[in-house]
């Protein structure tokens, strides 16, 4: 098999700092090569270097990249423009923002055909439609005239793939193409990429941080960390016999299994939600008449016992986050009851609700917007305590309590004086947990708390949450779209679709013996690691 891409001793620098150190790898024709690493490892930089789309501040200090034996770095810019989009094509992570919002999707595909192949008018339109068919976009002729905002995330990504394939490239670079998509859609797109590889003998450089996806897609794998490639291997070898300790720890973290915990007694029911409905009115027309409802939550019944975790799983738009907001009384409930310790929260006024606010708290998904950038960590944690009257009113005693909390979440006491931007995503998430703990709640709603985190950080946070539950008996409502982490944290699981719960039960029951169609689809779509045995990775 001929070699399509050759990266040789590539090093990049910003100023004096080296951000890519001596990267070398090769991609053969028809091969899917996965580049894995956590954020900041340099994988996206590598792809940008191949396309020569690096920002001006970054310079190539040494090395070369060859496409089919011809050096790309030796080309002048106007020659490189002929390579981009034609010989090498790229698709990005966020399909929402990667497409021009004011151009039709058809025109955006046509653009690439026009500049590289010189096609015009009817020929162009025909080619675009055939491309849309190839990427399995329904009603291709109609879709030509649609705008990006009218398409779903999965459809947009298909358009991106169509743009990439238009001029029959030798290499397709896919930079985390499915990270922003729902699990079922992700499965479809990955299937599509594999099919295209088969049909066209296309080489793909697949960049991701998800090990399970790698095991499903890749022929060969390379692991990057802090600008270096630590290990390269054929996929099967890579997963059955990882060599480098970092690789081993990555695989371990990806394959978390819940340690057999002590059997917990059937606790009393802490939270009981009955037939909860949250409908948002759609107002139309001159007089703002209510034309219909968005049924975000449409009749949900669930319960959480004391000291246990219920995982709420669903894709985007299923209503899972709305349930969390309703329980916190942050959103208006249309119907139903939310009973906490047998008291219906829905009937309480804001004042009567305040003592209950102490008992139910929340941890958010995005660590970057969950903390006020202008407040010190200490004050962020203090806010809840002061507002809900927990603990001492004396400042010194409060400071003590804050220090204890920081230590509890594996941070340091002196961090109280620092500001959020000085911390990493994982650390900020822990600060968020400390903030929720400060008021000594009995139930914490975790709204996708690990979705924005790297795999290794994720496992740390989950471990922390488990530890806290064991120590203090706090219950969790764990909202997530990621089925793979459910066994590591939850006792029971409920699967949601379009505002309704389709199946619920204990984790073993639902995950190993699903009854409903949708649950089965979700489980099947989720990419799996080859080896269920954790011991292989130690």
């Amino acid at each position: 098999m001929n070699s399509i891409l050759n990266v040789e001793n590539l090093s990049l620098t910003i100023g004096k700092d080296e951000i890519l150190k001596n990267i070398s790898f090769e991609i053969k024709q028809g091969e899917i090569f996965a580049l894995v690493g956590e954020s900041g490892s340099g994988k996206s930089l590598t792809s940008l270097a191949i396309m020569r789309l690096l920002p001006d501040v970054i310079s190539v200090s040494c090395g070369d990249i060859k496409l089919k034996k011809k050096s790309l770095f030796a080309l002048p810019e106007y020659e490189m423009q002929k390579v981009r989009g034609k010989s090498i094509a790229m698709i990005f992570q966020e399909p929402m923002s990667a497409l021009n919002p004011v151009m039709t999707v058809g025109a955006q595909v046509a653009e690439v055909l026009k500049i590289h192949l010189g096609l015009r008018n009817d020929a162009v339109k025909m080619k675009v439609v055939s491309l849309f068919k190839e990427v399995a976009l329904k009603d291709p002729e109609e879709r030509y005239n649609w705008y990006p905002h009218q398409l779903s995330g999965g459809q947009k990504q298909r358009v991106m793939i169509a743009i990439a394939l238009a001029c029959e490239p030798d290499l397709l670079i896919a930079d985390e193409p499915t990270t922003a998509l729902d699990v079922t859609i992700q499965a479809q797109i990955l299937e599509l990429l594999k099919k295209i590889r088969e049909d066209r003998k296309l080489s793909i450089l697949f960049i991701t941080h998800d090990m399970a996806v790698v095991s499903q897609m890749a022929d060969r794998v390379a692991v990057m960390k802090e600008g270096e490639i630590l290990e390269q291997a054929v996929c099967k070898e890579f997963f059955s016999n990882p060599q480098h300790p970092y690789t081993q720890s990555l695989l371990r973290d990806a394959m978390e299994k819940k340690e057999d915990s002590k059997i917990k007694e059937e606790g009393e029911k802490l939270l009981e939600v009955e037939d909860l409905k949250v409908h948002f009115p759609i107002k139309k027309g001159f007089f703002q008449r209510t034309a219909g409802y968005v049924k975000a939550v449409d009749g949900v019944t669930l319960s959480i016992p004391r000291g246990k975790t219920l995982a709420l799983v669903g894709e985007s738009g299923s209503g899972k986050s709305t349930i969390g907001q309703a329980i916190l009384s942050l959103v208006h409930m249309t119907q139903g009851s939310i009973k906490f310790e047998n008291k219906n929260l829905a009937t309480l006024s804001e004042r009567a609700l305040k003592p209950y606010r102490r008992k139910i708290q929340i941890v958010f998904q995005d660590p970057y917007s969950a903390l006020n950038p202008r407040m010190t960590i200490g004050n962020i944690i203090r806010e809840g305590m002061v507002s809900l009257g927990v603990g001492s009113k004396e400042r010194a005693a409060q400071d003590e309590h804050i220090k204890e909390l920081l230590l509890k979440v594996d941070l340091e006491a002196e961090h109280a004086r620092r500001y959020p931007h000085e911390f990493s995503g994982g650390q900020r998430q822990r600060i968020g947990i400390a903030r929720a703990l400060a008021v000594e709640p009995e139930l914490i709603i975790c709204d996708e708390p690990t979705s924005a985190l790297d795999v290794s950080v994720r496992s740390q946070v989950l471990k922390l949450l488990r530890k806290l539950q064991e120590e203090s008996g706090v219950s969790y409502l764990f909202i997530t779209h990621d089925l793979s982490i459910v066994p590591t944290i939850a006792d029971e699981v409920a699967v949601m679709k379009e505002g309704k719960i389709v199946e619920q039960g204990s984790v073993e029951e639902v995950m190993e013996n699903p009854q409903e169609e949708y649950t089965k689809t979700l489980l099947a779509a989720a990419p799996k690691l080859p080896n269920k045995n954790k011991e292989a990775y130690t």
């Binding site: 916190l328 606010r357 958010f364 806010e383 507002s387």
Partner: protein
Amino acid sequence: MILTLLWTDIMVWILLFTIVVWSWVVSGSPQVKKQWHTIFKSSIAMASATVLLFYLLFTLLDSVHFRLATPSTDTKSQQVQYGEMTSLLDLLFSHNIKNTERTYSAPFATHEYAKSIVVDANGVTKQAYLPLKHVSNNNDLLQKSMFAIFMGIVMGGSLIFLHMVWRKKRGFKSELPWRTAYLTLLFLTVIFTWFYMLSYHYHVLGTDKVGGDVLYHSLKSIRTGVLIGVLTTLIMLPVAIILGVSAGLFGGWVDDVIQYLYTTLSSIPGVLLIAAGVLSMQVMMDNNPTWFETTLERSDLRLLFLILILGITSWTGLCRLLRAETLKISQIEFVTAAKAFGVGKFTIIRRHIIPNLMHIILISIVLDFSGLVLAEAVLSYVGVGVDPTMHSWGNMINQARLEMAREPMVWWSLFSAFVFMFILVLAANLLSDRIQIVLDPRNKS
């Protein structure tokens, strides 16, 4: 000597006090201190700030008014007579005030600008240039200049020396471009000292139509310009912040009312609104002559009212911005967290929303400042600016413009006003650019 403070004087000192207090409060937060540090790392910002401080100095000098006791002509009476209201700046330039000429003269000139009819010793009538009354005729301009520049360097140098000593005590640790600041300071001090010392012997920037010294006029106008720029913002800020944040956070009918208010107000052409306000004010002042005793007080009151009117008519722009930003911030998760803690709405505003609005507010303040200084000139031209007896660049331009047709042209009064205004506005714009670059969250990458 009795201290008599005008209304605007009081406002200036309150403002100064507020700034000092605010700086002290802000220096408690290491995050904000760091931001200001980054702002001043730029030499341009440093130089601009020095220039602005220089202008501020003149404003302050001119904001302390008092009346000096005049020697009593009536030896029998026990009462002390007091003269006109003067300020510190006036004291400095008392020689200029006294030494008015008859009419126009060019900078550094020794004779009047236009010829006048003169009957000479032989009884022959002819046209000649009359010598200026208060300008010395010795041809030693160069000598005096050298001496003045020397004095300037000495004065500037000593200030710099003092500052360096103060820095040394704290260990020379900051990396701010003090050298640029020193150079700017030196430059300004030298120029000013040169002007000042020569003003005893020459009319450095010429004289205007009625013989008043142009340098003196220009310096006095600084206070007017700076006051309009700064005090208006002082009035405009609370209104814009309260209304903007309320509209964004409370929504509902509060939002509708506030939006109605600012749409209505902004649909009235600005000049008309100001003009109407000024005219009303004039009538009010005409009907109440007891409110002020001297012309100075009267024109000061008019300035005060002008500032009030400008403040009340210019809050709409900032209000809109703050409303949009508040809407955005109130959706961010840390606000949701606060609500989940049951934190009250007003505390949320104080703790979460306003600190995250500071960058918009700060940029607005500095940007509006330059706009207002420029607007003053235009307003005076239209006739709804400051009182014609008050020293302002607008008035200088206006009066000079009427004489533009004169041949050869009288350019120095106009030029001087424009240059003083230009330097102030340029410094403010450059500083605001730098602040914007540092504070705008979108620039953080």
